[in-house]
Amino acid sequence: MIDKKSKILLRIFFFIVGIFVVATFYRYIVLKDFKVFTDEEIFNESLLDK
């Protein structure tokens, strides 16, 4: 069985995980805050390749 200290440690760990997962979700899904790289020249080349 897991002792008391380990339980606290695991709770802290999963709390931190929870916070940063929510933060990631908020940034990418809600705010859609991320850079989109579009180099027109490379893009057109890749389309031609397709």
Partner: protein, 562 residues
């Protein structure tokens, strides 16, 4: 998102997904098969193990590993099928965290499996602190720099964490597992060694098949081919589950056969669903490799067992022959003993008789010195008669020829007679010799009086012989339905090691090493006779120099032994 970006996305002509994962963006059906089989099997394995005993830590850990792996597989499928950059960015980030988390849980799992206890708090901190940079930097540009639209690949651009750190800690975790297993293997008992080898190979193959997609994909740039690793996942997941559920009754051969059958079932099932001939070739090639490896192990194992069985049969036959020979020899020994004892008894009786007549003056008065010498001859002859008598009795018992004449016997008369006979030798040694018994009570048992008296005499004689000074006490009393005869002394005592084998044939106590004259058969005979009376003899002694008690327990009259 800006309009220009939407234009770029629409120019890429990505298919719109339904339920996050189903779309034409997934160009090979094999991807769905490999992912769905792995996902379902991992979930089933996790639930199965947890349902066996949810309180066992190792079961919980495997459940966590399987759940994390199922999530990883599902997110991977989203990345294959989905076309929305925001969802791809999010689930790609999640996979960056789940992948090393599975490695961390595997380190935790193998430690608990081998040590059979939870790991220390420091170790937990050590394992999980390596994950902290990944978690904390997950929503930042250090994990994912941005989304790349320049080649329509639907991929983010990875930052430092995704490109280097995640792989770095995965290597650390893998090395951790290997080093830990090797160290434990060296110190493990032979029975545990096999378990350590199997569980380590199982975990390493599990993790390898897990990353094989990335490795094969990066090396060949063929991401469909990269899916074959996932087919191995259910096999190794099932293997790990089997290990923790059945490791108590671990049988490598049985395990190998079961794994082979289950794996073949999965692989053949995969062929049913795969339509492309190229993919069928892949699955068949993987199956062949798997069958060759496990088949070779199984054949070797069966061959070894057949050889062992043949050797065992030969040994059994040899043992039977040796046993027959031994029985014959034992019979010969007993017959010889009986014959020799009879032959010895006759001249000994003559020696004893003539010696007795000599010192009693039947052939005229002797000088003191002569009388003393003749008495010594008489005593030695008596000792020899006792030894011969013991040997004869033992051979009778072993041949099943010992005859008992049971009749209701009053032990009080027998014990009073014994007390009278043993008083002289006890007083000669200046020992305090006493009898404790209720003179008015009757102690009736069904017994062969002569033989039982021999037992009491033997025990009392031993007590007197091995008590240099102090007391010897004999007692007779009733305890419930039993009658108990007890001889206690404060003599040499008996060590626990000697006590354990004192009733064996030719066994001698500590005193026997200094006192000569005993055959080492007295106590053996005494116990055999007591048992023939449905009784028993027990020795009590606190150790050397602390005296001893010999207790004979007999059933009070009412039940006559057959």
């Amino acid at each position: 998102m800006e309009t220009s970006i939407q234009t770029f996305i629409s120019m890429c002509q990505w298919d719109t997904s339904s339920l996050l994962i189903f779309s034409d963006n997934v160009f090979g059906a094999l991807i769905y098969y490999s992912h769905f089989i792995a996902l379902i099997v991992a979930l089933l394995v996790g639930i199965f193990v947890l349902s066996r005993d949810s309180k066992v830590l190792v079961n919980r850990l495997l459940f966590l590993i399987m759940t994390a792996f199922s999530l990883w597989v599902f997110f991977d499928l989203i990345l294959w099928g989905n076309e929305k950059p925001d969802l791809i960015m999010f689930f790609w980030s999640m996979m960056l965290f789940i992948e090393p988390l599975i490695y961390a849980l595997c380190v935790y799992f193998i430690d608990v499996f081998i040590e059979k206890k939870d790991i220390s708090l420091n170790k937990k901190i050590g394992i999980f602190s390596l994950l902290l940079p990944v978690i904390i930097l997950l929503p930042t540009k250090f994990a994912l720099v941005g989304f790349d639209l320049t080649n329509c690949f639907r991929e983010p651009i990875e930052g430092f964490i995704a490109t280097y750190y995640v792989y770095f800690i995965e290597v650390i975790y893998t090395l951790w597992i290997i080093v830990f297993a090797v160290r434990k293997y060296k110190k493990a008992a032979p029975t545990m060694k096999n378990q350590i080898i199997f569980i380590t190979i199982g975990i390493i193959l599990f993790l390898l098949s897990f990353v094989s997609g990335n490795i094969i994909g990066s090396l060949t740039d063929n991401w469909t081919l990269a899916q074959i690793g996932l087919f191995g996942m259910p096999i190794f997941a099932g293997f790990l589950a089997y290990m923790i559920v059945r490791f108590k009754t671990f049988n490598a051969k049985l395990l190998g056969a079961q794994v082979l059958v289950i794996a073949l079932g999965f692989l053949v099932l995969a062929i049913v669903f795969v339509r492309s001939i190229e993919n069928i070739r892949l699955v068949v090639a993987f199956t062949l490799l798997f069958v060759l490896i496990l088949g070779r192990i199984l054949i070797k194992s069966v061959k070894r067992e057949v050889e062992q069985r043949e050797r065992l049969e030969i040994l059994t036959k040899e043992l039977e022959v040796a046993n027959e020979k031994l029985k014959g020899l034992d019979k010969l020994k007993t017959e010889f003993l009986s014959l020799a004892s009879h032959q010895l008894r006759t001249p000994l009786t003559a020696i004893k008789g003539y010696a007795s007549m000599l010192f009693e003056g039947s052939f005229g008065k002797m000088e003191d010195k002569q009388e003393d010498a003749v008495k010594r001859i008489y005593t030695s002859a008596q000792g020899l008669v006792n030894v011969v008598e013991d040997l004869l009795n033992v051979s009778k018992i072993e041949q099943g020829g010992m005859k008992y004449e049971f009749s209701p016997t009053d032990l009080s008369a027998l014990v009073i007679q014994l007390y009278g006979e043993m008083k002289v030798p006890a007083e000669t040694k200046k020992l305090e010799f006493s009898l404790e018994m209720d003179q008015h009570d009757k102690f009736i048992v069904s017994a062969d009086a002569t033989k039982l008296k021999q037992v009491f005499l033997n025990l009392t004689d031993n007590s007197i012989k091995y008590t240099p000074k102090g007391f010897v006490k004999i007692s007779l009393k009733r305890e419930g339905s039993n009658i108990v005869f007890k001889v206690s002394d404060n003599g040499m005592g008996i060590s626990p090691e000697t006590k354990a084998k004192l009733f064996e044939k030719f066994s001698r106590g500590e005193g026997g090493k200094t006192n000569t004259g005993g055959s080492g058969l007295g106590l053996y005979l005494a116990q055999q006779i007591a048992r023939a009376h449905k009784g028993d003899i027990v020795i009590e002694s606190d150790g050397l120099g602390k005296g001893s008690s010999f207790i004979v327990t007999l059933l009070a009259s009412g039940s006559y032994p057959n």
